[in-house]
Symmetry: C2
Amino acid sequence: MLSIGTLAKRTGTKVQTIRYYEQIGLMPEPGRTEGGQRRYGEAGLDRLAFIRHARQLGFSLEAIRELLELSDSPERSCAEVDAVAQRQLREVEARITRLEALRAELRRMVAECDRDRVADCRVLEVLRDHEECLTDHGKATS
Amino acid sequence: MLSIGTLAKRTGTKVQTIRYYEQIGLMPEPGRTEGGQRRYGEAGLDRLAFIRHARQLGFSLEAIRELLELSDSPERSCAEVDAVAQRQLREVEARITRLEALRAELRRMVAECDRDRVADCRVLEVLRDHEECLTDHGKATS
DNA sequence: TGCCTATCCTACAGTCACTGTAGACAAGGA
DNA sequence: TCCTTGTCTACAGTGACTGTAGGATAGGCA
């Protein structure tokens, strides 16, 4: 039987996080010792590892809840699981695209700045005078 | 004189968000009408646009606070501003690297799954049996 | 001038996924 | 037995907003 601290170490999770997962119903309520401490079996360890790995892949706790429910009903179609994974993949791809655009703008910003006084700083200038930002919203929505 | 709603529209910000920025001291307290409504000048609009643009580039509110303070002292060295931007660039690059790894794993996961029952689903299998997750923490930290 | 509606006000609670804290109790080894 | 380490509950805090309730104000039109 494993204590909550052991589970935490094995999965790289904080103890509080495990209790939090229990609180929101992602982890089942485990058995307790006479003194009231949680004791887990292998099933608990596996479930937590599943949750942590899915979190590392960027799945939201809601998506993980869905995945866990699906994996608890082994006769259902794999397509639903696949859909969740595909959705996650698309989200990750969108985030990458967005971050690549940010990276380009930041690189340009940093590369252009070679003055020495803040008053002439290109970085601040770019941040200040991003015309599209004002016009996009100002003109498009009025 | 611009109302908070006009500022919101021009910069693509929610009204509550502007009030929030004021609350945490990012936006200065503006003048008020007799009836107590906020009225902004061009300076307020510029400052908000600066904040929103920096947010779009992924800067945290704390970083933006730093940038705003620097831009308020035009005689200081531009190097500090540059450092903030460089730090942000490195963070964005790190996030991209991480997301690309996620993308690869998600793609592999999705590509491998062609069964029809959840019981045989590769996606769930990958999520369940990620050996490194258990061993990394279990063996490295004990 | 009166009215009406859109906008504005404050204050507070909720979101997500944790993280930290306080004060008390339990487990296990020397 | 004592002592340290681990665990317990309950609650508050994080970042960056977002939403809601219940009321006051501004500005246009008849």
